[in-house]
């Protein structure tokens, strides 16, 4: 295996274009990739470590947006006052994320590009409608996160393109993240969930629910929230719309039926509290 650690995007594109496709892997924190190698996946011929791309580590704030560099660690997200103040669900997800050692190494870009159906940062990023900035050797493009993640481990990244930053609109939405795992720490979520909302004296004026680990990608439960906002009293009946939207599977952590029950219970508890 050959190891590279480019210090600039220019150097990265040069190295990446010289390594044949299919024989190279990009690595950020390594917290998802390294366990694969230790479980027997062979190391790639060319491993390109992105961690030294200094420009991708910062969080910047403008009046209307928060821009997070793709290599920002989970811990740095957790410690950022604006995320704690305005993006509560994202903050809560970083708080419940794995354990301290992983939070110090794992990155937001890695969590997105790994595209796990259970990735804990993903439901909040969907619920806040995160825009991803993808940079290739020639051009930059923007995609909403739900168009970027295509399935487990599958993304819309093109060859030699990387995720460089994540942009969130500062809409001052209220939000909440919830996770159910088999133990409190270091457990991959059985179900995770982020809600964003606005409310006035009559109740919710806007509501969005993003659910993880219940389908190949995170799902926004649009049909359910639309019907609920129209007629909140019908909630018991409307839960069926959640069942129709999701497609959970049985795996070593939980059965599909358990996931259905947990998700509906979490949403029920959230809406009736």
């Amino acid at each position: 295996m050959r190891y590279y650690s480019p210090a600039s995007l220019k150097e990265f594109f040069k190295i990446s274009s010289q390594c044949p496709n299919g024989q190279k892997t990009f690595l950020a924190g390594g917290t998802d990739l390294m366990p694969c190698y230790e479980q027997g996946t062979p190391l790639p011929d060319h491993l390109i470590d992105l961690k030294h791309l200094r420009d991708l580590h910062s969080i910047s704030v403008t009046e209307n947006t928060l821009i997070i560099g793709a290599l920002t660690t989970i811990q740095d997200l957790h410690d950022h006052p604006l995320i704690q103040g305005e993006f509560v669900a994202l903050y809560q997800a970083t708080h419940e994320f794995a354990g301290a050692q992983i939070r110090h190494r794992g990155t937001i870009g890695g969590n997105i590009c790994n595209a796990s159906p259970a990735g804990d940062l993903l439901p909040p990023l969907y619920a806040f409608d995160a825009q991803l900035i993808l940079t290739g050797p020639q051009a930059e493009r923007h995609l909403p996160i739900h168009e970027f993640i295509l399935g487990p481990g599958k993304t819309a990244l093109l060859e030699n393109e990387i995720l460089t930053s994540i942009s969130l609109n500062r809409k001052r939405l209220r939000s909440q993240f919830q996770k159910v795992g088999l133990r409190q720490s270091m457990a991959i979520s059985v179900v995770n969930l982020a809600c964003t909302w606005e409310e006035d004296e009559d109740g919710f004026s806007m509501l969005e629910i993003a659910a993880g680990a219940v389908a190949p990608t995170v799902l926004i439960l649009n049909a359910f929230t639309r019907a609920y906002l129209e007629n909140p009293k019908k909630l018991p009946k409307l839960l069926q719309l959640i069942d129709e939207a999701i497609a959970p599977i049985d795996d070593i952590r939980a059965t599909a039926n358990y996931r259905r029950m947990v998700l509906k219970n979490l949403i029920w508890a959230f809406l009736t509290k």
Partner: protein, 158 residues
């Protein structure tokens, strides 16, 4: 490839196999406090300090430590004078088989260096990547709470 980094206060300049993990390297250097547990970044038994932060040595390939400062708990004490955390772990009975202890000490030392408020919640947060299968977590948390509060008071009064 050749890399340079600091290990327990010594500058190391060595030829490495880029596919080797820091865990494999440290144990080959007879730093046996770094335990080979799960190999997946789940148990925390191989935790070491890298630039003052606790990380799992099994998730780090050797080229990634280039230019970094790596510390294992061998550097915490000189075998005669134990580190305060080690003393309190002994006094409070926070060690049973001892396999997870070095990783816990590394995680707690990282917390101490963060210089944030010492609280049970912060201690539990910093230990949540370390699995123990015999003593449990109550005693280590109690020992850490005593030791870190003590160190903080000593630091403030001196």
């Amino acid at each position: 490839m050749i890399i340079e980094f600091e290990l327990n206060g010594r500058l190391i300049n060595t030829k490495i196999d880029p596919g080797k993990t820091l865990l494999e390297y440290l144990r080959s250097e007879e730093l046996y406090s770094v335990k080979h547990g799960c190999d997946h970044g789940e148990c925390g038994a191989c935790s070491v300090l890298i630039n003052d932060k606790a990380m799992n040595a099994c998730l780090i390939l050797m080229p990634m430590v280039e230019g970094k400062r790596v510390e294992t708990i061998e550097s915490f004490s000189d075998h005669k004078n134990l580190h305060d955390l080690q003393k309190l772990f002994l006094a409070e009975g926070a060690v049973q088989c001892g396999f997870c202890t070095p990783g816990m000490l590394a995680a707690l030392e990282a917390l101490k260096r963060e210089n944030i408020e010492v609280s049970e919640e912060n201690i539990r947060d910093s230990l949540n990547g370390n699995l123990c299968r015999c003593t449990g977590y109550v005693k280590p948390v109690e020992a850490a709470l005593k030791s870190l509060s003590q160190m903080k008071n000593d630091g403030e009064s001196s």
